[in-house]
């Protein structure tokens, strides 16, 4: 980028703390097309001065030496296609966090400006691809969530293809008579009107329904997915823009609970099986067809149990209450007993709980069911119940409120299994074969669980979070999966009650619609929603190392048979993790590239050994670590002036070459500061922080080979609210480096 403008701000104490004149002469060296200073750059007048300068000098880029890029965003927003803006945080990173009028502070400001200029010079204006794309939404699963997702997408003006594996729509709820109260007084059962809803959806002109169908293959990317739908009639290939997976959940296999008598006696049934009886209007004891006198419900059958389902299935308490109420209504003489660990009736469901309790024939006790014995006539053995430490209770029918298991498939595991199988066949060494075989044994149970059959390098289905639920950040951004354009809804996404699953369908459908629109504009979706940049692969230099295709958290990249990455740009979330992975440095974004950051590092001053001023590079995640730095600065916390901060999109986008360059330039240390990793990771790209740690682990021995102390490179986890730790972290690292002494590579 040639024509750059430099705009310095004198407000917020910059003018007093820094010698702006000196800074101007420094920037003059790189001969910017425009250079000016404003008393308050973010004021309407200041912004106007930028606009005018940009127009008159038809600038391509503007470097704003003012405050952090996190503030005054709206003021400094210009059309990225016309003017690329790079902001240097002279306020937060220099004057608010360092003593005024000092050589080191001035030097810091100089370096940051030079680095900013270099980065800007390397930046190119974004050239988003725009295209008219397939507007259709593919909904997989015709249960409660899927049906509502279809209705929603259609309601939002998109054609819908609804694929249901069974012969009829409705899923579990299709086989129930009543539903839990959804509104005041919250005390009465409501009739299940799903049949009417299904009729509406079947009649909707924009919705095409495929029953007894499955997705045989799904390839492509948001806006232009190719789906092969296999029905009894054959295979149909369709173009869809986005996908909602609402394959729901299945009851936990009660045969795995032999101690509860399932299988041993036909009079022990699951809530699902009781539902069928109630639906058919015949509550009967299977052994003799008589009306049971006492029905005992066993809660948490399989749920909240480390040996079965460690999580709570969230729905079972409600289902049991619904079934009790139905029995009270239809069979007033039948006594219903519920044995629970904790009754979980959140919100207004509490009112329904109270209403069901008030019925004379409903008994409750907290307790553990140790065993269900007998065949025709059953005995339920209770432990630690409110009624006594060890008790037995006769029952004619025992209902196991079994938990729910998501109908998901672990795409990563399936892919790993395939790879392992391949290696078992053509392994180069026996040890390799054995290792592969071990993996095959571990993952064996995954075979045949494909649902979406994605033709993705990273496997045929949505990757899973803990316990097989395929979402990512289930608190803040519950719909985000790790496959762009494919959204999970309903009990597949998280254990939930039918009413909530319906709402969930609407939410997921909206995300799908958003994704189609974003794709049409060539923009990214969450978390960099609206980002027009696309990654560029310089494939001539690709060595097929497959790191990028392996490490992209979102399955963006496929491989050809040689292993060359094939970019599916619209699957890309712009995190730059591939860029960080690539040893050949062939992946770059218009305004964020290996080269750009490398040259920023080259632009920074490196004091000579005798000056005894270490130079430190801090690569900080812009989502959590950098905001913490800003907050620390706002509280006027001070930290070591030898640190040069380079914001990165994600620690995962850090390319090791930056560290190598820094060290070989004689920098004394490099610190990476990013999000928490692990199961409860706070990385918005899920794996970025994780990958950074692994990669760093790998270069430690390289350092030793270069006769460098491994302590010179450090990685730290920092949460968004931990600004108080910033000085301690940076000063602490500086202190370590001082103890180590100057880098031996200085001056080489």
């Amino acid at each position: 980028m040639e024509r750059l403008g430099v705009f310095l701000c004198a407000g917020c104490g910059l003018g007093d703390a820094l010698d702006l004149g000196a800074l101007e002469s420094v920037t003059q060296e790189s001969k910017p097309a425009h250079l000016s200073r404003h008393p308050c750059l973010c004021s309407p007048e200041g912004v106007e001065s930028i606009r005018q300068a940009a127009e008159q000098g038809n600038l391509e880029g503007a470097l704003l030496g003012a405050c952090s890029h996190r503030v005054k965003q709206q003021e400094f927003r210009f059309d990225p296609a016309k003017l690329v803006v790079e902001r240097v945080s002279l306020r937060e990173q220099v004057v608010w966090s360092h003593p005024a009028q000092q050589e080191d502070t001035q030097q810091l400001a100089e370096d940051l400006l030079k680095m900013g200029l270099t980065k800007l010079a390397k930046a190119k204006p974004a050239a988003p691809i725009t295209d008219t794309l397939a507007p259709a939404v593919l909904v997989v699963g015709g249960g409660q969530a899927g049906l509502e997702a279809a209705a929603a997408a259609a309601g939002l003006g998109h054609p819908v293809l609804l694929v249901e594996k069974s012969g009829s729509l409705g899923g579990h709820l299709g086989r129930t008579r009543d539903r839990l109260p959804q509104g005041p007084s919250y005390e009465e059962l409501e009739p299940n009107r799903l049949a009417d809803r299904i009729a509406e959806i079947q009649a909707h002109p924009a919705i095409r329904i495929f029953t007894s169908a499955r997705v045989r293959a799904l390839r492509g990317q948001p806006g232009r997915f190719q789906a092969e739908i296999e029905t009894l009639k054959g295979v149909e290939s369709v173009e869809v823009g986005a996908v909602v997976q609402a394959t729901g959940a299945r009851p936990y296999d009660a045969r795995r609970l032999p101690h509860l008598g399932y299988g041993a006696s036909p009079n022990v049934v699951t809530s699902e099986e009781l539902e069928t009886m109630l639906f058919a209007g015949s509550l009967r004891r299977p052994t003799d067809g008589k009306l049971p006198e006492r029905v005992v419900f066993v809660q948490c059958a399989g749920s909240r149990d480390p040996n079965h389902l460690p999580y709570c299935s969230a729905d079972c308490c409600g289902v049991t209450l619904r079934q009790m109420a139905a029995i009270h209504r239809d069979y007033p003489r039948v006594e219903t007993v519920t044995v629970y660990r904790d009754m979980r009736t959140p919100g207004q469901l509490e009112r329904f709980y109270a209403a069901v309790q008030s019925h004379a024939a409903s008994l409750f006790t907290r307790g553990e069911v140790e065993a269900v014995e007998g065949n025709g006539h059953l005995t339920v053995r209770l432990r630690d119940s409110l009624l006594g430490p060890s008790l037995s209770l006769d029952a004619d029918l025992v209902v196991l409120a079994v938990g729910m298991v998501p109908n998901s498939a672990d795409g990563e595991a399936i892919r790993a299994l395939r790879d392992a199988r391949r290696r078992v066949e053509k392994a180069e060494s026996e040890t390799q074969r054995q290792e592969a075989q071990k993996l095959v044994d571990q993952l064996g149970h995954h075979q045949g669980t494909e649902i979406l059959n994605l033709e993705y390098r990273q496997g045929p289905d949505l990757p899973l979070l803990r316990y097989g639920f395929p979402d990512s950040h289930f608190i803040c951004f519950p719909y985000e999966t790790r496959r762009t354009g494919i959204y999970a809804a309903g009990a597949l996404r998280a254990p939930m009650e039918a009413g909530q699953a319906a709402e969930d369908g609407w939410g997921a459908a909206l995300k799908a619609v958003q994704c189609i629109n974003a794709a049409a504009r060539g923009e990214a979706v969450h978390p960099r929603a609206g980002d027009p940049e696309l990654p560029d692969f310089f494939l001539q230099r690709c060595t097929q190392c497959k790191r990028c295709t392996e490490e992209c958290p979102f399955g963006t990249l496929n491989e050809d048979e040689k292993g060359t990455p094939q970019l599916n740009a619209l699957r890309c979330r712009r995190c730059g993790i591939c860029m960080g992975a690539c040893p050949e440095r062939i992946i770059s974004f218009p305004a964020y590239s290996v080269d750009a950051v490398a040259s920023m590092i080259r632009a920074m001053s490196v004091p000579e050994e005798f000056e005894e001023k270490p130079r430190i590079l801090a690569l900080m995640c812009e989502n959590d670590a950098l905001p913490a730095l800003d907050a620390a600065a706002e509280k006027r916390r001070q930290w070591n002036p030898w640190v040069r901060v380079v914001p990165v999109r994600c620690l995962g986008s850090v390319n090791l070459v930056w560290i190598a360059d820094s060290l070989s330039r004689g920098l004394d240390g490099v610190i990476l500061i990013g999000c928490k990793r692990g199961d409860d990771n706070q990385c918005h790209y899920v794996r970025g922080s994780e990958l950074a740690h692994t990669r760093l682990g790998n270069i430690q021995e390289t350092l030793t080979r270069l006769a460098l102390e491994p302590e010179r490179v450090k990685i730290v986890e920092l949460a968004h609210d931990e600004s108080e730790r910033i000085p301690e972290i940076l000063d602490g690292f500086a202190a370590t480096l001082e103890d180590l002494g100057p880098s031996p590579l200085k001056g080489f």
Partner: protein, 376 residues
């Protein structure tokens, strides 16, 4: 060791009819047990009893002293987050237990269902008196009279009431034994019965436990008055026998006579006590609990005895000046004798029986757990 749970739907049904329906709402949060100051820390109630009632575990309730330790202060009911009204539920349970412990049981049931049987319960004793007087040819009324002695001789009254008293004592003994056994099944007791009876008696005389009630504190004074009213009445009756057959005092005694004063004082206490309790019930259902036929029959009976007693006394005074005809006086007197008889007879079967059962329960509690049962 494993014991079998035997929920009884018939007990639940009976409880429902007796005002214990709200037991079903209880979700075992135990607020009630933590706010009840009468409940011992080692065995707090009524949370457990609510669950037993909900399930219809009659046997457990029958052997549980807590049911009787409850004074229905309704601190629990006032704080219950589900409005399950533990105070009422335990009251209903006590009703059923009185019925169940009664000897013979059918009489218990008869009084238990006073809601429908009350005409019988009141009518029969009155008819009995009329028949008796008729048989003794005493229905002929003199022109004037100055003492009821002239209408109904004392010997006849005692000839009726002394055996009745004996009967009441006998059946109370049987019922008492039934409860005592049931309580004993709960665990071993130590110490002597009478050793514990004395302190308990004083405790009851002073209504010490009642003093701990928060929500329905005013019930204490009413209950205390009623209690001492009955004691006074009983004592007076005893004194009268002495007055007539030993001291040979002329009847009726003058108003200023100590015996007379004691008698009227007792009547007054009864009147005041009953008044307070009725007022309480009328004031606020939630705090004082709902009235069931079982409670109200007893209340009415006591009320009738007091009122009729006073009316009869007034009648005699007025009769002297010929303002009330002897016939009317006799009628009133017979009615009074009738309701008194009804009251006597209903002692073991009505709410009154809790005097016996509560006493036994407290004694049992002290013998089962020697230390004074209050918050640890």
């Amino acid at each position: 060791m494993t014991t079998a749970l035997l929920p009884s739907s018939s007990f639940r049904k009976a409880l429902l009819e007796r005002g214990g329906a709200t037991a079903g709402k209880c979700y075992q949060c135990a607020t009630c047990s933590s706010v009840c100051d009468l409940a011992p820390a080692a065995a707090p109630f009524p949370r457990r009893q609510m669950l037993w009632a909900q399930w219809g575990l009659a046997d457990r309730l029958a052997g549980d002293p807590s049911v009787w330790l409850c004074h229905q202060c309704n601190d629990c009911t006032a704080r219950c987050p589900r409005d399950a009204r533990p105070g009422d539920v335990l009251q209903a349970v006590r009703g059923l237990l009185v019925e169940d412990l009664a000897f013979p049981r059918f009489l218990g049931r008869l009084v238990g269902n006073a809601g429908t049987t009350w005409p019988l319960l009141l009518g029969l004793p009155i008819l009995f008196w009329i028949a008796l007087l008729a048989a003794a040819g005493l229905l002929s009324v003199p022109q004037s009279f100055h003492a009821y002695e002239q209408l109904v001789p004392h010997w006849l009254i005692y000839a009726v009431y002394l055996p009745v008293a004996g009967y009441v004592a006998a059946v109370s003994w049987v019922s008492g034994r039934r409860l005592w056994r049931a309580l004993g099944a709960g665990g071993p007791r130590s110490g002597s019965f009478f050793g514990q009876l004395m302190p308990v008696a004083t405790e009851i005389a002073t209504h010490k436990r009642f003093a701990k009630c928060g929500t329905a504190a005013s019930r204490r004074s009413g209950h205390l008055a009623l209690f001492w009213g009955f004691v006074g009445a009983a004592v007076t009756s005893g004194l009268l026998i002495i007055a007539i057959y030993i001291q040979g005092l002329p009847m009726p005694l003058p108003l200023a006579h100590p015996y007379k004063i004691l008698g009227n004082l007792s009547a007054l206490l009864l009147l005041v006590g009953a008044g307070i309790l009725v007022a309480n019930r009328l004031r606020d259902g939630k705090r004082t609990g709902v009235s069931t036929a079982f409670d109200s029959y007893f209340a009415w009976l006591v009320g009738l005895v007091i009122v009729s007693g006073i009316v009869v006394e007034l009648a005699r005074l007025l009769a002297g000046d010929g303002m009330v005809s002897p016939a009317v006086a006799l009628g009133l007197y017979v009615a009074h004798l009738g309701v008194v008889l009804a009251l006597f007879l209903s002692f073991p079967y009505s709410k009154f029986a809790h005097l016996l059962y509560r006493t036994l329960a407290i004694v049992h509690q002290r013998m089962a757990d020697r230390k004074e049962p209050t918050a640890a």
